[in-house]
């Protein structure tokens, strides 16, 4: 079976700035859930930006193959249509654009790029309402401008809704639990878990072990100084909780 995502000897830096990713390797097979843990400032978020093509970063070496194509050659919207979804740590607010209209535009932009027929408004509305119900997102929240005035929990539920609707192959969750209380965390995790399937993989980037109680990973990586320095099973997360990252930071240095 071909891997879903292959990162080979990746080097990246902030444009005109310091090096953040320094010789990283990672392979994710379809259906696997990988967690990336590491200390603050290790470059975990940068990894998610580099994968999704955020401007402001420069790839200085290596390659990323996603579903058989060279991911780094695609624009951010093409990567999205290819099935890469980034669940933002801090989702952006878009004033004046209703949540429903945004979802409609996003879904059909992707479908158009893939040569699929576009969803009609009634089809989309039905689907969104169904998914919304499982996440406690009501009609009022769908009418409001995207993320404007949403609480931290509402924003994360909204991200999860987008993810469920767009049905990506790879979900990259960047600190998905930040700003969440336990109840909201459960709702979001349930949404994410409902998406787990043999074809779909997850890359869960987190600082704390807490999230991994809810989204249980198959593989846990320790990320320090721009690369993966240690890999283990889900029990590694618990170990890290007890011992901290200090030993790995030394290892990386």
């Amino acid at each position: 079976m071909a891997p879903l995502l292959e990162i080979k000897d990746l080097h990246a830096e902030i444009s005109g700035g310091r090096k953040i990713i320094d010789g990283m390797n990672l392979t994710i097979n379809p259906g696997e859930v990988h967690a990336i843990m590491g200390p603050n400032g290790a470059g975990k978020s940068t990894l998610s930006y580099v994968l999704s093509g955020k401007p402001g970063y420069e790839i200085t070496g290596g390659e990323v193959i996603f579903r058989g194509v060279n991911l780094l050659e695609l624009s951010p919207d093409e990567r999205a249509a290819q099935g890469l979804f980034l669940c933002f740590q801090y989702p952006l607010e878009i004033p004046g654009v209703s949540n429903m209209a945004f979802l409609h535009t996003a879904v059909n932009s992707q479908r158009r790029k893939r040569g699929e027929t576009e969803l009609t408004s009634p089809e989309l509305v039905r689907k969104v309402r169904e998914l919304g119900q499982t996440l406690g997102i009501n009609a009022e929240m769908l009418k409001r401008p995207v993320n404007v005035g949403f609480s931290g929990g509402e924003k994360k539920r909204n991200e999860t809704l987008q993810m469920m609707l767009l049905e990506p192959y790879l979900c990259v969750l960047d600190e998905a639990d930040s700003g969440l209380d336990i109840d909201a965390l459960k709702v979001v995790s349930n949404g994410v878990n409902a998406l787990r399937s043999p074809e779909r993989s997850m890359l869960v980037i987190t600082h704390y072990q807490r999230l991994l109680d809810y989204i249980v990973p198959d593989v846990v990586h320790v990320f320090a100084a721009g690369r993966i320095v240690h890999t283990g099973g889900k029990e590694l997360a618990l170990e890290l909780e007890a011992t901290g990252y200090a030993q790995y930071q030394n290892e990386a240095a």
Partner: protein
């Protein structure tokens, strides 16, 4: 790779040469001699078979204009206009007022077809039957160069007592009405361009809504400038008599030109007791090429007089075209309890220069006004909001709310807000809010991560930014305006 950097680059290299409505219709036309003189004015007046008082009115304006100075206070920069190097009148040759659409020159109808925008209007112009109730009916008074070519729905409007016709025709059929109101809102002394208009105006629309009548349909007019080197000088006069209501739509596109074309229109609105006029404009004239060459000079005077008690005027404008826009649709709030509104979207790209805003002049007691202005600057353009809110000393209880938001796309454009606020009555309450922001790269990335192209992301963000104003437009017009916003940004991104 830096996607947003690309956006900026593309905005810089905006290819406005792709202006979608730049084509020329080959119709023989009849012109007045080049230049401006008493003879030319007499020629125009004679062509129009105008009464003597009208000719005199024009000549008075011309004499005054000769003593006036072109205003220089606006934040716009353009080469000196040679007023003797322009044609002041042109009309399609062999023109006889058409009795029906069959008589309209097929070339002209083709022009409308090519325009693509006035879809429903074009259907109407082409005489296509539209099933009852399927879409709102809109009466069109189409202005092709200087002459109204076709007027539709005349009969039905007539039944309601509404007068909607070219102003030249109104001069013949309703001379008293025209004489009573023409120039009563924008006087001959008003400003350089308005006075020029008064001297040479060729045609325009005249609307009169009788007391208590709610105009049974929206009135619409499309202006185009077609003849090479022709200044176009429309004059529009709308009167809403006591207790009446009318919604008037004005849309504009023009073919591409090398020379700059001067456009100095005057619009006068008169609203009597308890009446209301809603005036909506979508302006999409040729903005000039990437270097700023060509493009329309749009120096427009639009003013409404809320003459009666509890009268109301609402201006809504979507301005995306023209090389230079100099335009301040205003309200004189004379009647007690009258109210004025100004909703504006002004988009500038390439090397466009916009200096636009409004004046809300509170003269009567308990008058209210509301200003919502959204300026979007891209490319190397400059976009200025200039507005005046004033309360006369007798304007007790005057209220105003102003909100001016500016959005910048890229690093080479400018957004400016110049509000003038004068309150001479201690009970007046004026509020002013203003923001300036740059289109957020993070916001664009967020949209793109969800699958939107860069271009769609910009359009989405911008449409969100202008939503408050779009909502003020009549439904069908709003859809067109939204498309137009995307089109004008299409040139800027990708």
């Amino acid at each position: 790779m830096a996607a947003v950097q690309d956006t900026v680059e593309q905005v810089r290299s905006i290819d406005v040469d792709q202006y979608k409505y730049g084509f020329e219709t080959l119709i023989e036309s009849e012109k007045a001699p080049k230049g401006l003189s008493e003879e030319v004015i007499r020629y125009i007046s004679a062509k129009k078979e105008e009464p003597e008082w009208m000719l005199q009115w024009r000549l008075d304006a011309y004499a005054r204009w000769l003593t006036m100075q072109e205003p220089e206070w606006a934040r716009v920069d353009y080469p000196t206009i040679d007023y003797q190097d322009l044609y002041y009148y042109s009309q399609p040759k062999q023109f006889k007022a058409p009795k029906s659409l069959d008589e309209v020159d097929p070339e002209i109808l083709k022009t409308y077809a090519k325009l693509g925008i006035p879809l429903r209007e074009q259907e109407i112009l082409a005489g296509v039957e539209i099933p009852e109730g399927e879409r709102p009916r809109i009466a069109v008074d189409a202005v092709f160069d200087s002459v109204s070519v076709a007027t539709t729905f005349k009969e039905e409007l007539k039944a309601a007592g509404v007068i909607f016709m070219p102003i030249s025709e109104a001069l013949r059929e309703h001379p008293d009405l025209v004489k009573q109101y023409l120039g009563s809102v924008v006087p001959p002394t008003d400003n350089y361009f308005a006075t020029l208009n008064q001297a040479v105006f060729s045609d325009g629309s005249f609307v009169y809504i009788p007391p208590g009548v709610r105009c049974p349909m929206e009135l619409s007019t499309y202006f185009r400038i077609n003849e090479k080197n022709t200044g176009q000088f429309e004059r529009t006069l709308i009167i809403a008599d006591k207790g009446s209501y009318v919604s008037y739509l004005e849309g504009c596109t023009a073919p591409m030109r090398d020379e700059n074309q001067l456009h100095a229109a005057v619009v006068e609105l008169v609203v009597l007791d308890d009446a209301e006029i809603k005036y909506s404009t979508v302006q999409n004239w040729y903005p000039g090429d990437a270097e700023g060459k060509g493009g329309i000079y749009n120096f427009v005077t639009k003013r409404g007089d809320c003459r009666g008690k509890n009268s109301k005027i609402s201006w809504t404008q979507v301005e995306t075209g023209s090389a230079i826009t100099w335009k301040y649709p205003s309200c004189v709030l004379r009647g007690e309890g009258s109210s004025g509104e100004f909703y504006s979207i002004a988009i500038s790209n390439g090397r466009q220069q916009v200096d636009s805003g409004t004046k809300m002049i509170h003269l009567g007691k308990n008058t209210t006004s509301r200003i919502i202005s959204k300026g979007i600057s891209a490319g190397r353009s400059n976009n200025t909001y200039r507005g005046l809110v004033s309360a006369h000393r007798k304007a007790a209880g005057a209220r105003n709310f102003t909100n001016c938001d500016s959005l910048l796309i890229g690093d080479n454009c400018g957004a400016h807000t110049v509000p003038y606020i004068e309150a001479k009555n201690p009970t007046a309450q004026f509020e002013h809010e203003a923001t300036t922001s740059k289109i957020s790269e993070d916001m664009l990335f967020y949209c793109m991560q969800r699958g939107l192209t860069q271009e769609d992301a910009v359009a989405l963000v911008v449409n969100g930014f202008v939503r408050d104003v779009l909502q003020q437009l009549p439904m069908e017009f709003a859809v067109e305006a939204q498309k137009l916003i995307s089109i004008s940004l299409e040139g800027s991104v990708g």
